[in-house]
Amino acid sequence: MNILETEALGRRYGGTWALRDCSLAIPEGHLVALVGPNGAGKTTLLNILVGLTGATTGNVSVLGGIPVGSPAALDAIAFVAQDMPLYRHLTVADTLHLTRNLNHDFDGAYARARLRDLGIAEKHRAGKLSGGQQAQLALTLALARHPRLLVLDEPTAPLDPLARHDFMATVMAAMAEDGLSVILSSHGLAELERVADYLVLIAHGVVRLDAPVDDLVARHRVVTGPVGEQNDPRWQVVESTAAGAQQHLLVRLQGPNDHVPDGWESRAAGVEELALAYLRESSVPTPLVPVEASR
């Protein structure tokens, strides 16, 4: 089942297209990293996905064909928006009560136990908590709904490294336990390789790449060799760095017999490296054909 399916999805604000021609089919069970610079269209896509805004053109559905914004979708998707919006004047206890009353299913016992473990007292006002605690509170509220999809908009941007680690550890543990799918947007690339297993790169409102991380890594190599030598014509060069005598090429392999000629160095490309290269590339790349053995 696909957790998200879009077909030529687009959203226009006034005269500008914040998102256009977005076609995705993302299977469930992954942590999808939605990566791109500020203003790329990540928040727009997420807002459409959770039903906060509508699409101008195209189709979109979640969780295997459910319309976005429908009661079934609202029940199954939990969203933590940018800057973790919480009612600052409400106590933690009141916030739990509020969330319970706004949902059909809410695991209050889980939420209270988690907050106890984190040392967040229920009588404190949400606005008085530290940034990390607010993030954990927002995440707890989302996870206590036992959603099938968790959507996070730049969740770790305001957090210090320790808080960031704890936050992501909680998300991953929930994935391991509940079979949760996660879509997470970020404009940073740090720790991408550790947390994401599906990557969607987006820039200027256009999806530049979307593929499982395993496929991406299997399909690319960084080769180093002398300038001017005949390259394998089957290589699709994504990015090249050349000086007088030596060049490095980030290439996408096409077939089974791609190999590195003698004298050339070759290494696997890192996920962050690949993301940067595809974000920089000016032309829209061809879709990535999945490697059979990785399925």
């Binding site: 992501m168 550890a169 991953m172 994935m175 550790r194 077939g255 089974p256 059979e292 053995a293």
Partner: protein, 152 residues
């Protein structure tokens, strides 16, 4: 069952993919005797909560260990060590070390310094591994699969 005898720790700066680090740590633990057949590997949920890594990565590492015949999963219980790593005997190890020292002397005579030696060794090891992969039954399946994909 008290849990696993080992715990994972990641080196974020090593450049080695996460799942491979996990595989290597299990293999090292086996070689060094921390893990014995029948021991349980860390539960996915605990590893994930400690390291803040994707659970699919842990699952991938455990699948790799299963392929190597080192571990097997029992549904609902976890993943358990199945067999030990064959260790080279002490005389064999001594012989290998001697051969390596001779090779290093040759390399030094040819003008290679430590970095150059490292580079040559790494690329040769990779070539060797790739050839081994292609020769093994699983590797041959992989090649066949890619051919089919490439022709499409």
């Amino acid at each position: 069952m008290a849990g696993s005898p080992i715990a994972f720790r990641l080196d974020p700066a090593s450049g080695v993919p996460t799942y491979l680090q996990l595989v290597q740590q299990v293999e090292h633990a086996l070689v060094l005797g921390y893990l014995k057949p029948g021991d349980q590997l860390p539960k996915v949920r605990e590893a994930v909560a400690d390291l803040a890594i994707n659970p699919n990565t842990v699952l991938k590492a455990y699948r790799e260990l299963e392929h190597k015949g080192l571990a097997s999963g029992r549904p609902g219980q976890g993943t358990f060590v199945q067999a030990g790593l064959s260790q080279a005997t002490l005389p064999e190890l001594a012989g290998l070390r001697r051969a390596l020292l001779e090779w290093l002397a040759d390399a030094e005579a040819a003008g290679l310094d430590a970095n150059a030696v490292s580079a040559v060794f790494a690329s040769t090891l990779r070539d060797f591994s790739e050839r081994r992969e292609a020769e093994s039954p699983r590797g041959a399946r992989k090649v066949r699969g890619r051919t089919a994909g490439g022709a499409a």
